[in-house]
């Protein structure tokens, strides 16, 4: 079965992706392949993907302020709403795709047996949530703003405040895991995990913007974070034909 250029995804642009061998991020040293990736032609495996857009979600799956809290209580920290749109590279919305998010609490502590950082756990917070994009590719979830935290990397390294995002697209080749950072955080410029991306615009695309227009007075602030997944190969061919 032939796959056309409008179904096939554009080749990945590795100049906007992190270097896999980045010794300032110590864990990459022994975990990156040294052989070049073998280029494969795309097939149905890559343009099709599992679809979770219509799976039943719990009422509070997208609300980390209360989804692990005792009745009537809520997580401690800065109440925020995070929202945005998932687009592909041709600027078309990606509807009905699953987004899963996870993060540390307000003090920078993760609810995970391997995190021994001295900031305490919040009994009303787990830092796990999910949502699905709507017909326009839009998503939103509520949470508390995570704190920066120190991590063992051979020195005095602190992660910027961040929320981890896992996104499915319509095809498995679009599958992406990334991290969202917050506007104005001085740790973004000095974090080796962020700086493995050697392109200023690409780093900036990971930084969420304060969005006061969507804040709720006396309740929460909003941050806007859009995501771009791989788009159809034809977008690029058409531009070439136009002499772009």
């Amino acid at each position: 079965m032939t796959i056309s250029n409008s179904e096939r995804f554009a080749q990945r642009d590795y100049s906007v992706q992190p270097s896999i061998d980045y010794s300032d991020y110590r864990s990459t040293i022994l975990r990156h392949p040294k052989h070049k990736l073998v280029a494969l032609p795309q097939s149905m495996a890559d343009v099709c993907g599992p679809a979770f857009g219509h799976m039943p979600l719990g009422e509070h799956d997208n609300d980390m302020i209360i989804n692990y809290a005792k009745a009537g209580e809520s997580a401690i920290g800065e109440r925020i709403m995070v929202h945005g749109q998932v687009l592909d590279q041709s600027a078309r919305p990606v509807p009905d795709v699953l987004i899963e998010v996870w993060q540390a609490n307000a003090g920078g502590r993760y609810r995970h047996k391997n995190d021994g950082y001295q900031a305490p756990l919040d009994p009303n917070f787990a830092g796990c949530g999910r949502c699905v994009t709507d017909g326009e590719g839009r998503y939103s979830f509520r949470t508390i703003r995570p704190g920066p935290y120190p991590w063992p990397n051979g020195g005095n390294d602190w992660r910027p405040a961040h929320i981890h995002f896992s996104i499915f697209g319509s095809g498995f080749a679009q599958r992406l895991i990334t991290q969202m950072y917050f506007e104005g955080d001085p740790h973004v410029a000095i974090c080796p995990i962020v700086q493995a991306v050697n392109d200023e615009r690409a780093v900036d695309q990971l930084v969420a913007r304060l969005d006061m227009a969507n804040s709720i007075p006396m309740d929460l602030r909003a941050y806007r974070f859009d995501l771009v997944l791989r788009g159809p190969a034809s977008t690029f061919f058409e531009n070439k034909l136009e002499g772009n």
């Binding site: 799956d61 996870w102 993760y110 609810r111 498995f172 788009g231």
Partner: protein, 205 residues
Amino acid sequence: MDPLDIRRTRAAQTNTKTPLRETASQTAGPYVHIGCLPSFAGICGIYSQDLVDNGLDVGSTPINIVGSVLDGEGALCNDVMLEFWHADEFGKYQNGHWRRTGTNLESGLYDIQTTMPGSVQDEHGNVLAPFINVWITARGINIGLLTRVYFPQFQALNDHDPHLKLIDIERRHTLIASIVETSTNDEYRFDIHLQGQKETVFFDV
């Protein structure tokens, strides 16, 4: 609607403005299970169960795949999340099977139950050897790694497979699972070496 029909409909809506840049990948980090496998990480009560498969029947050919993920010094990586994606027993991705699991924090082993995929045809009508796509994320992995599991009993198909032929001949074996003889079920062993002498082949699609 057939997934390929959905893609064709959307293809017709393609616009021709300057392409956007794909969002950069970042490592999933050591706590990926909190978001993607919370019960596995000991966080219970948020979702009724972890999202570990896409709910399709395993049909008449159930299989089990077990293995470990090792780093450049041969050490077990016990903080990995893996996803498996493959055609159904008839070779169709419209009813493709998806699985998700983590390596066990103590043993370092992953273990999935799925179904043997059927052969798929490529765009030239060649019959491809059956395979399962595997996507691997963890701390120290900045962009998800993509590999494939092939099966030893399909040697003739494997030897003529147009995708396997794109790989240097001395590295192709890294993608062939072994049959676990001691098991009563159809069980396979597939270890993934992120780096080193036995480095697994990883793909760019």
